[in-house]
């Protein structure tokens, strides 16, 4: 079912003459400039770049008689603000690629994910202790340590792959994307951050039991 159009959007798309269109566009921008600028800022650390991207988003929203906005009007089934933020971010990422090449700021919003750090956190939390640094920095571990690390890593991969998608999302948001419990709750629809922690604890307990049942316990030789 299509969401109702916000009044400033409806007025913009229905505007007939150029004066009405300009006024409606001004009202639209006043209403949404804040989240559009937030969207631009989320793709760069440089304030001036954010302003350039924000301006680019406005240009692109306006081009071809508001073609992108009319697309929402025709089949948007979600809230306009949600759709607008996502569209604006993608425009900013396109802007970034046009200037800097394919590497996107959205290969994460911050630094690239560190699979080693993620695995380390999960290993710590499910109760195993191994010297991750010896592996991560390229030092040659002992054969026993390397075998245990590989065994634990593979067991974790298997355990994770058995989890429902929703639990995998939870773990990745928490340990790869560094999302707060509040953000996870909002994004995934948990009633509160407390429910996020409770589910997280349950999933980690499940992983721990899986590892123990597959013979991966204390890695101390």
């Amino acid at each position: 079912m299509r969401s109702p159009l916000p009044p400033e959007l409806a007025r913009l798309l229905d505007a007939g003459d150029s004066d009405s269109r300009d006024q409606a566009w001004g009202a639209f921008v006043r209403k949404h400039s804040r989240i559009l600028f937030h969207a631009a800022k989320s793709t760069t650390d440089v304030y001036d770049d954010a302003m350039d991207r924000y301006a680019s988003v406005l240009d692109r929203l306006r081009e071809c008689d508001f073609r992108r906005l009319r697309r929402y009007a025709s089949d948007g089934r979600t809230q306009f603000s949600t759709w607008l933020v996502l569209v604006a971010r993608r425009m900013c990422i396109d802007y970034h690629r046009a200037r800097y090449g394919r590497r996107s700021p959205d290969a994460g919003d911050g630094p690239p994910s560190d699979a080693t750090a993620t695995r380390r956190q999960l290993v710590d939390l499910v109760g195993a202790r191994i010297d991750i640094e010896a592996i991560a920095d390229g030092a040659r571990p002992s054969p026993e340590l390397a075998l245990r690390a590989e065994e634990l890593s593979q067991a974790l991969v298997n355990a994770l792959s058995d989890l429902p998608a929703r639990d995998r999302i939870l773990l990745k948001l928490r340990f790869e994307d560094d999302a707060s419990a509040r953000e996870i709750a909002t994004m995934m629809g948990f009633p509160s951050p407390f429910h996020v922690y409770r589910r997280l604890t349950a999933v980690l307990d499940q992983l721990r039991r899986y590892l123990e049942s597959h013979g991966v316990g204390d890695p101390t030789p």
Binding site: D22, W25, G26, V29, R30, S33, R34, I35, F37, H38, A39, S42, Y47, M51, A55, L58, D75, G76, R77, T78, Q79, S81, T82, W83, V85, L86, V87, R89, R90, S104, D106, A107, G108, D109, P111, Q121, E133, A165, R166, R168, I169, K172, L173, E176, D177, D178, A179, S180, A181, R182, E183, T186, M187, G189, P191, S192, P193, F194, H195, Y197
Partner: protein, 198 residues
Amino acid sequence: MTPDEANEQHLDTEQIAAYLERNMTPDELPRVEAHIAECERCRREALAATRILGMRARRWWLYAGAPLLAAVVASILLVSQRDTETPEQVFGADATVRTSADEGLLQVTIVAPAPGSAVGVGNRTFRWRSLGTDVLYRFTLTNQEGEPIFTGDTSDSALTLPGEVVLEPDARYFWRVDALLPDGRSATTRMLDFQTTR
């Protein structure tokens, strides 16, 4: 893989928006969840949108230089933005930290180390006042660049850094404690700092 093929592998805007609003059919949801679980790009896009939409409740003032705005949009109303704040100004350095009334958060009171204090690299225990029973605390330690060094959960009102966490001498660190109460309310210290001695 061509750009078109890469794009086909990702969720479109409408799918991510529908996921965020939990406005999906029973058939769509498993497919989208399976993708988000495996696709860092789409998951982070959804997370970024969540964060931005969450900012709408806060006061945020936008300021731009007059020439640029004059060239781009003549009808936007301009107000000032704080974009030159130091980390201390943003995060605050009070021991009893202020919590944002706008966010409605309770406060966690720090015991040690005091904000801005100089501590030896061997002082690895952080303490705060307990908020009661069945409270879960999340401790976060970052370096001066804001990069996370250690994150740990505890139900105690103190945490000692594990051995593998190394504090450098003559360095500045930031830390914070977030608390989750049994009734779902949150509390926080905001960011605090300390300096290790030589």
